[in-house]
Symmetry: C2
Subunit: 616 residues, 2 copies
């Protein structure tokens, strides 16, 4: 153990293990989580080459292999609880994706929730036994968040009782769905339903895309990988072009809407039904924001205690870089944010489960608010975490750029959350739409921003613009109002969490974090607070002074606070973030394994550099 990091752990003012229990929910949950993780760690099949050193095709290959292994092992160990499966997988996957991810998170859940009883009986066993490997093909080249714009068509032909699926334009080609390119043999395709000459909007269809035995694409199907991306090397995000593909009538998912054999259409009972899935996925994403940020803080803070650089006082040994105020200012507000988002994620999941129970009893009353709030919180937390990961990476200096730090991988794996499941700006505007309807119930800061946006809309209307143009011309203000509201909600939920904590030492350190999070939000938006006369100039100055005091206060607990997240080294996969702090020797060890070092002399020397001399 590096002596610097050892000393950090001795300085902690609270019991790390107890805080871990709080983060997990209970001591029993911590114990069970570690038990499951130890299954992975003690497993010889878990040893794989570092994907950083592999080609994309080999990385995809390894991901498929791991997915298949995981399925078998989870059955072997009898792990079936969704939370426990997630725990097992998250260690197995590290910072990367599962090749069959979409099968589990989209394909199967859609079957569960949208099949009618006959369909359930037919498709679920096939999917659960992996005869059918599926994905969810919604996004097209030309449309993502704006679902009504999707162009794929499913036209009912009563003569054969089939739907005919088509991609009528280039922009209608399905684009981006994970596991679509090479892995899946089925897709749930979202298409505009046409029957009896009318369009009834988007519906879901089960479409076979590859032969069950040979895995070759079926007639009328043009399918493949969309090529390399920013990260996601493990995933075969794919394209799918449909050319007069015929599927039986009962391949339309018919739990809610139906098409009768004669082609007549039966409407679904409520449009709000799809809300709850969205809320669930967004609460998962908020949790992911917390985890990605917590991992990044763990790496950057541990490394900052091991790295010694430059000087504060002449003649003394080089200080740990975490002793620089600027470094604390980069990292501690993010650490506070990681805790804040963890509690927000927990709250959202809990609320989702509570509301789901209400919905099952026919009570939809709380859904619109949660739906609107979840949109904003998804955007708010993913933007902040995405930016925060990069701050963590850059706070590690040059080594933060090396894949050995894991920070590049964490960033590229996480940043797509800003776009998928609803583009963030659009999400913020959804929340704003809700806020403008309820703005008298809001906190005064937020309320003022909503009023400002409302005033801007009024002014634009007076310039004889339409309601819609006025909305667009005030969109910047609306996004700011949503942002402030989300910030307020996060602070409120963090405070609420504090009241649940009995342990005095932990309560104290978490209170410091909560205060830092709140004050940093004020400092960054001090203009808004001054404009609203919520704070005076001396008070704003006081906020800056207080932030610096909080940084010093947190300094001795920094390592303990990231240790409490309890990310095993095998999960972080980061040389800089190692628990033992032995960074440099392991950095050298890692580098020597680079594929470019397999030979002393790269072939390019013989091919280009040596001949160059003779040509000059």
């Amino acid at each position: 153990m590096n002596p610097d990091i050892l000393r950090e752990r001795q300085k902690a003012t609270f019991d790390v293990e107890k805080l871990t229990h709080i983060l997990d929910g209970a001591p029993e949950k911590t114990r069970r989580r570690r038990e499951i993780q130890s299954l992975v760690l003690s497993d010889p099949d878990f040893q794989h080459e570092d994907p950083n050193f592999m080609s994309r095709s080999d990385r995809y290959d390894l991901a498929v292999k791991k997915s298949a292994q995981m399925i078998l092992k989870l059955r072997e160990y009898g792990i079936a609880d969704p939370e426990e499966i997630l725990c097992y997988k998250s260690l197995y996957r590290g910072n990367r994706h599962e090749a069959l991810g979409l099968h589990f998170v989209m394909f199967l859940p859609t079957l569960y929730s949208q099949c009618d009883p006959q369909q359930f009986q037919k498709w679920v066993p096939l999917a659960e036994s992996f005869q059918v490997l599926g994905t969810y093909a919604q996004t097209e080249m030309g449309h993502g968040t704006h679902l009504r714009g999707l162009e794929t068509t499913a036209t009912y032909d009563p003569a054969t009782q089939e739907f005919v699926l088509n991609s009528p334009t280039v922009s209608s080609i399905k684009w981006w769905p994970g596991a679509l390119g090479k892995t899946s043999n089925y897709a749930i395709v979202l298409a505009q339903l046409y029957t009896q000459g009318n369009c009834h909007g988007l519906h879901a269809f089960i479409v076979p895309i590859r032969d069950m035995n040979t895995h070759e694409p079926l007639p009328g199907i043009v399918v493949g990988d969309i090529g390399p991306k920013f990260g996601f090397h493990e995933v075969d995000n794919g394209f799918l072009k449909l050319e007069n593909v015929r599927i039986p009538r009962d391949n339309m998912l018919m739990k809610y809407s139906k098409v009768e054999p004669d082609g007549s259409y039966v409407k679904p009972p409520s449009a709000k039904l799809t809300y709850s899935t969205m809320v669930f996925i967004r609460s998962m994403i908020v949790g992911e924001s917390a985890r990605a940020l917590a991992k990044s803080c763990t790496i950057a803070i541990r490394y900052s205690t091991v790295r010694r650089q430059s000087e504060i006082r002449p003649g003394e040994p080089e200080p740990q870089i975490l002793d620089y105020q600027t470094q604390q200012y980069k990292l501690f507000p993010l650490l506070a944010m990681a805790y804040a988002f963890t509690f927000v994620g927990q709250y959202m999941t809990k609320t989702y489960h509570r509301i789901t129970a209400d919905i099952n009893q026919g009570d939809f009353s709380e859904l619109p608010e949660l739906h609107a709030l979840s949109a904003g919180l998804k955007a708010f937390t993913t933007w902040a975490a995405s930016t925060g990961i990069e701050v963590c990476r850059m706070s590690c200096g040059g080594h933060g750029y090396s894949c050995s730090s894991a920070l590049p991988e964490i960033y590229v794996t996480f940043t797509p959350t800003c776009t998928y499941e609803g583009e963030n700006t659009v999400m913020m505007l959804q929340t704003a739409r809700y806020l403008t309807t309820v703005h008298t119930q809001l906190c005064v800061g937020v309320c003022r921003l909503v009023e400002m946006a409302a005033k801007s809309i009024q002014q634009e209307l007076q310039r004889s613009k339409s309601q819609e143009d006025a909305w667009n011309s005030s969109a910047i203000d609306l996004v700011r109002a949503s942002d402030a509201h989300c910030h307020y909600v996060v602070v409120k939920l963090f405070s609420a969490k504090l009241s649940e904590i009995g342990d005095t030492a932990i309560h104290s350190v978490l209170s410091t974090l909560a205060l830092l999070y709140a004050l940093q939000g004020i400092a960054q938006n001090s203009g808004d607070f001054l404009q609203a006369s919520l704070l005076s100039v001396p008070q704003v100055l006081q906020v800056s002074v207080r932030i610096k005091e909080l940084l010093s206060q947190l300094r001795p607990n920094a390592v303990a606070l990231v240790d409490a997240f309890d990310y095993h080294d095998e999960m972080l996969k980061s040389v800089l973030g190692r628990y033992d702090g032995n960074v440099y020797e392991n950095l050298f060890e890692w580098a020597r394994r680079s594929p470019l070092n397999r030979t002393e002399v790269h072939e390019s020397f013989h091919k280009y550099l040596k001949p160059l001399r003779s040509k000059l």
Copy 2:
């Protein structure tokens, strides 16, 4: 040509070609630049496979091949002017790096500037004929920006008249130098010079690392690639461990300091000499900030006129996404910034050349100010551009994540500028140190922040802290003061540039950009302006309103303003940023070339997925 983008070009209120001339410096320069670029474009050797589809080893291989080709072609065409060479190479390279980059930008210039006449005669011809391929090995695993902390030693042995070089610790291993891993056979090694029992600080030594004929590492040399990074796939950033490596006395670069045969040390005449190289490199980096941002804006703005999505007014066709206020608010301030940074870069280069002439006449008077300012401007522009590129990328929705957009590559290639050639926070503090000495000469806004930082230092001193601790405890305020000063300087230089522009239409649109840049800076720091009573609350509100007006004003000229940067499609390498706007068909075309599509069925199906079924 896509009709949407064609219509955009017809809306422009100014002559794009004339603005290009201003950006290039003169019509003649534009002509010559295009002439050189056409040499690349018409060259059949220029056709290479897309590196996005290649393994890292193959990408490195291709980069070496291209470097060798470029050397031969530049000789063939007789292109020798440094600016023209850069122009040729920048098209040849695209958004990527040159394998032999360090040889040209660091190794050769160091030889030119630090060899004594005998050394010059020996080494320069070897390096210019590429018998010697060199790099510049300064950074170590344990130290980057803080040069005094470097640990590599060069100990003079008068008995043999040799220096003995050693890497005494793991953290002293040279780490990160480009082209060190596999390409170079020589390195200029920066090491602490020991002679006659005394250490004389960092000096530069020419060290052979690989055999000139076989390219095998020489005895005592442990050299290799440091492994994959965030981008930089083309570059073999390397490590170098020196184990009692002996080099002749005259391999120390001796233009300024010397070690005599008996081991006595002769000091250099001025420490300021190294300043001017740093200023030059930083001015290059500021230019690079402008270019990276200009490319990103070109891609995002062109795509935003081709992409139609969602609705503003019901029933109407989907609007171009650039018509959304939120999209304009993301992109137009960045476009303004790209112009601002272009002019700042031009100013710095010009000033560098002017001051160099002074220095050659022994006048160092302006150097300290320029040196201090260049540090801050390097940090200010790279941070802003780095963040800005990501905003551009995310403004393209899902497709911004695809490598086909080129935005991921532009980001990972550019973001290291925040760390190399001086870590940004350290750079900001260097500028702050200068500002605190001259603060009465500053503009009032900046001045107030410097005073605030100074006050904080005073308060910390009163708490009986040492001067050094007080500095550290005020570092956040100091960075903010530097940041404000840099912002002020950029606004000032942009305004100064406007006064040089005669064309009314161009003057008008550039004035709008300059105003947007300035006001956006105020809006983002409105708290500071309110605190300093520089602006009142109604004035701050007026700023927000004015920004929205400027966005609308710029809208019709957006595409023309990015067209004026004149980045050829072959330089952008971006499907989204194509000049003709034909995005979707080319996205499909690009994706089909993905290596994962070489076979219809990936081998992982047979290896893992098919067997999985039988095991369940």
